[in-house]
């Protein structure tokens, strides 16, 4: 495995996350890691499933609650939630995001907030004249 280098392995992880998440979504209510492993046909080691679930937890894609001696896992977000998370990662990685993506508003400077409130307040008080 290790001679394959970093890239193919990382993509594999993304696929596994999607696999585990979709399996979890098919459960009726919270499911254990063992149930997910079984659902996936036993191709994955139990520890691998735990690792992937933990990673999804860090991404906010699943939640868990204690059930006896293990955890019961629930999918927290749908595709949109996962897309939102991925997009945040893309934007955070781009330290100069305005360089590529023209955002609706840029940040406000120290005096900008006061100025902006003044401008909008004035526009509001002029009313529907």
């Amino acid at each position: 495995m290790s001679e394959h280098g970093q890239r193919p392995r990382r993509r594999g992880q993304g696929e596994l996350e999607a696999l585990v998440l979709s399996a979890l979504r098919e459960a009726d209510g919270p499911a254990t890691a063992g149930w997910v492993q079984e659902r996936l046909g036993g191709d994955l080691a139990y520890t691998t499933v735990i690792t992937i679930l933990t990673r999804l937890l860090a991404k906010g894609a699943v939640t868990r609650e204690r059930a006896g001696r293990s955890f019961a896992w629930t999918p927290a977000s749908d595709h949109a939630g996962l897309a939102a998370h991925k997009m945040r990662k893309v934007l955070d990685a781009e330290n100069d995001r305005e360089a590529v993506l023209a955002s609706f508003v840029t940040g406000l400077g120290p005096d900008d907030e006061r100025l902006l409130r003044e401008l909008l307040g004035r526009s509001g008080s002029e009313g529907e004249d």
Binding site: S77, H79, A80, G81, L82, A83, A84, K86, M87, R88, K89, V90, L91, A93, E94, R97, E98, A99, V100, L101, A102, S103, F104, V105, T106, G107, L108, G109, P110, D111, D112, E113, L115, L116, R117, L119, L120, R122, S123
Partner: protein
């Protein structure tokens, strides 16, 4: 030829006053197009000049692959201070090429990554992301992806229905106007010659203004667009932005511009007004820069050809 050879490297200094006047007085569409054209022309000329100075200045260095005739004293006489200038031009040109390649690569990569992040969503023009951080932007399409408007639920939550329409109209204007191409062009130009940086800042602002004006036309109310921008900016306020200058940032200026009467549609103004001086000054500066670069290039080219043993 004298120091005229170096003119294209320094002429972009004229960009600063021109950019200021244009962004304040011209219609944002005209200003964007004009400033981008100025930036692209001046950057091309400056890079060409750098390349020619490098060729002449380095021809006499031992071990170079250039023809021996190019190191002739007569050829070197065409460029003042040829040794110093030539050697300085090598790292400068390398830096320009590297910086531009990096910008292009990152541009393509970020767009691709953003499209990939949206891959799981239905293929609609507007992608609404459930996210607590308020943001919105226009994501230009690629070969295999369509143009998209990305907006978070947090931002939509801060806006009234009419303001949401203004937001979408603004982002669509970015996409239909292909504003990312202007932005990429001025960004590349600013890295080809640092004197062109004011043009980059100016075009970032004028493209936003252009989209604001389009949005105001679409929703039929300048005030709605102004309040949408204001609310969006106040909602995303915690975004850290260390600014060293106390001058108003782009957002209040955009709002103020929208609360003022609409700008006159893009016609070339008369010469003896401040607007006219800006526009015509830019045109003249660009023409002089282009002609002087072409002149330098042609002269150097003919000298080099005459010195090349056939």
């Amino acid at each position: 030829m004298g120091v005229f050879v170096f003119l294209p490297l320094v002429l972009p200094l004229t960009a600063w006053p021109v950019a200021r006047l244009a962004e304040q007085h011209l219609h944002p569409r005209t200003a964007t197009r004009m400033l981008t054209a100025v930036a692209a022309t001046m950057a091309t000329c400056s890079t060409l000049c750098l390349g020619l100075v490098m060729v002449v200045g380095t021809a006499q260095l031992p071990g170079n692959p250039l023809p021996d005739g190019w190191s002739d004293p007569e050829v070197r006489a065409a460029v003042p201070y040829d040794e110093v200038a030539g050697r300085a031009a090598i790292p400068a040109l390398c830096a320009v090429v590297l910086a531009c390649a990096r910008i292009l690569w990152r541009h393509v990569r970020t767009r691709r990554r953003a499209h990939r992040a949206l891959a799981g969503l239905p293929d609609t023009e507007v992608a609404v992301l459930p996210d607590g951080t308020p943001y919105a932007y226009a994501l230009p399409g690629t070969v295999s992806h369509r143009d998209r408007v990305v907006v978070t639920t947090a931002l939509l939550g801060h806006l009234a229905p009419a303001e949401r329409r203004a937001l979408f109209a603004h982002e669509r204007a970015h996409l239909t106007g292909r504003h990312h191409r202007f932005l990429l062009a001025v960004r590349l130009a600013a890295h080809a010659n640092p004197f062109l940086r004011p043009l980059h800042t100016a075009v970032s602002y004028t493209t936003e203004r252009w989209a604001d004006e389009e949005a105001a036309r679409t929703v039929g109310s300048r005030r709605t667009v102004a309040t949408a921008i204001g609310r969006a900016a106040l909602a995303s306020r915690p975004a850290p932005l260390p600014t060293a200058f106390a001058s108003p940032g782009p957002v209040p200026r955009r709002v103020a511009a929208l609360l003022a009467p609409p700008p006159a549609p893009g016609r070339w103004p008369a010469v003896f007004t401040s607007v006219g001086l800006a526009a015509w000054g830019a045109a003249a500066g660009t023409a002089v820069s282009a002609m002087s670069s072409a002149n330098s290039a042609l002269t150097l080219f003919s000298i080099l050809r005459a010195a090349t043993p056939l």
